[in-house]
Amino acid sequence: MAISDFVEMKLPAKPEYVGVARLTASGVANRLGYSYDDIEDIKIAVAEACTNVVNHAYEKGQDDNFMHLDFGIHDDRLELIIADQGGKIDIDKLVRERGPIDSSQSIQDLQEGGLGLFLIETLMDKVEYKGDSGVMIIMTKFLQKDEVEQRDDGISEEVSKQ
């Protein structure tokens, strides 16, 4: 299916701009008719990808640090691309360390990181990693049309989400 619209953003790779990226993603997803839960999932996935850029992509104190966001708006899905040009993220290491909490470990051994990529992969339908001069995370969330139609018909949306 062809892209019907395309939104592009370039934001400073600073903590205070992650919320801006999140709210923009929320606005785009809302316009497409995603359910409340799906919009919240998309917000978290975008914030996690941007947080990785802010925390890991660039040398501290380096100027011109940016995160690039591209939203490909398709009929049946939203494709979100978050990219940096810092070259500092070791994506293979992040992927290796991702995962949920292992409750069999002692509390002192619990990892405080690794949840970001795990959440992205859990909340989105498809996730790809590419990288050359930086890392590019390509995430897709499909639009569940049945749910939207049910909502428009006034049939309980709660039923469709259980």
Binding site: G19, K43, A47, V54, I101, Q108, E112, L115, G116, F118
Partner: protein, 110 residues
Amino acid sequence: MNLDIQLQEGPQRNVVLLSGEVDVYTASKLKETLNPLAEQENKELVVDLSGINYIDSTGLGIFIGALKATEKSNSTLKLIGLNERVKKLFEITGLNEVIDIQANDAREEA
């Protein structure tokens, strides 16, 4: 896009009331509040999340850090007032198995 933190300190129990959003921007403020409280010996640390409408892995990481600190100081950590969305994140990540959590519907009356 902000986080409001209120603290009620007591002899046995410290209660932290949060409202707003916990993300990479607001997380340092939360960490600075929680860590010293979690390091106090033999105390109950209760964090009320009923005013939180957004949290992501940065926030979850801070609670893992607080859990470690409370264990070291022979204290306990309890999170209360989680809404459905926030609870979902604790469940997906498995954090609900290591942190004492009470969702919104089971919240104690203050």
